[in-house]
Symmetry: C2
Amino acid sequence: MTEDTMTIGQMCRCFGVTPRALRFYEQKELLSPIREGQNRYYTPRDRARLKLILRGKRFGFSLAEIRELLELYRLGDGQVTQLSATLQSAERHRADLIAKRDELATAIGELEAQMDVIRQMLAERSQSRRAAE
Amino acid sequence: MTEDTMTIGQMCRCFGVTPRALRFYEQKELLSPIREGQNRYYTPRDRARLKLILRGKRFGFSLAEIRELLELYRLGDGQVTQLSATLQSAERHRADLIAKRDELATAIGELEAQMDVIRQMLAERSQSRRAAE
DNA sequence: CCGGAAGTTGACGTGCGCGTCAATCCCCTA
DNA sequence: TAGGGGATTGACGCGCACGTCAACTTCCGG
C-alpha cells in the first residue's frame, strides 16, 4: 500500500467480487491497476471505475457497452481526442439511459396497478368470508 | 388465424425476434401459445407477455426472473393461490425496480455533469484559438 | 404433381461472463 | 527451515440465451 491503493483481495472484500472477475475486467480493458512486478495495485480511480462497472451491470449493459461509457470519463489524455465526438457519444448514452429510466417508470406503474388488483381480490375474499359467517 | 392469433412468423416480424427465441421462451415456460397439431398460435395474451419479456431483458433481468414477474400477472387460476404471498413477491419486485430507477437517475446526473465538463473544455479550446489569432 | 414457403423437432455450436482448478511464486511468522 | 496466506498465470469448464444447421411435414399456388 504505497499510497491509498488496494490489493486485489482488499478490492474483492470491498466490492463483493472475485479476483477472477477483476482480472477479467482488466483483460477487457475496463480496469488498469498499477502493475508492480506481478502484483496489482488498485487506485481510487480504479475503484471509481469499478463502481461504474458494477452499476452498469445492474442495468443490463454488456462489458463492451460499459467500456464505452467509461471512455467518456477518461478525458485529459494529451491530445484533446475529438471532444465533440465524445460529447455526441455521451449524448447517445444519455438518451439510452433516459429511455430506460422512463420505461422502468412505466413498468413500475403497471406493477403497482397489478398490486392494486391483487389487493382488491384479497378484500373481496375477506368480505365473502364475513358474509358466509 | 382462427381469431386474433398470430403465427410464429408474424410474431417474429412484429417483435423483431427469431423463431428460435420464441420456442426457447416457450420451453422456459414464459410463453404458452395454442398448440394446434404441431403449430403454434400466439394470442393477445402471449403478445402482452412477450412485451414484458423483452422489456425485462432490456433491464438486464434473467429469463428466470422475468418468469417470476410474469407469474404476478397470471391471477385468476382456480384456487386463489396465496394471494398475499404474490403480493409480497410483487412488493419485492417493486422495490427492486424502484432502486434501479433511482440508480439510473443518479447515473444520468453524473453523465450530464461529465458532459458539462466536456462542453467546458470545448469552450476553452475555441477561446484559446480566437486568442491566438 | 411439384416446387416453394413456412412450420416442426432435435442436436450441436457460440459468445459472454466469469468459476474452478493446477502449478507456481513471494513474503511473513513461528 | 518449514509452513501458511495471498498473489500470479494459464487452461479448461459452465450456465445462460440463444444461433445454426439438418431432416423432416404441411400447405398452397401453378
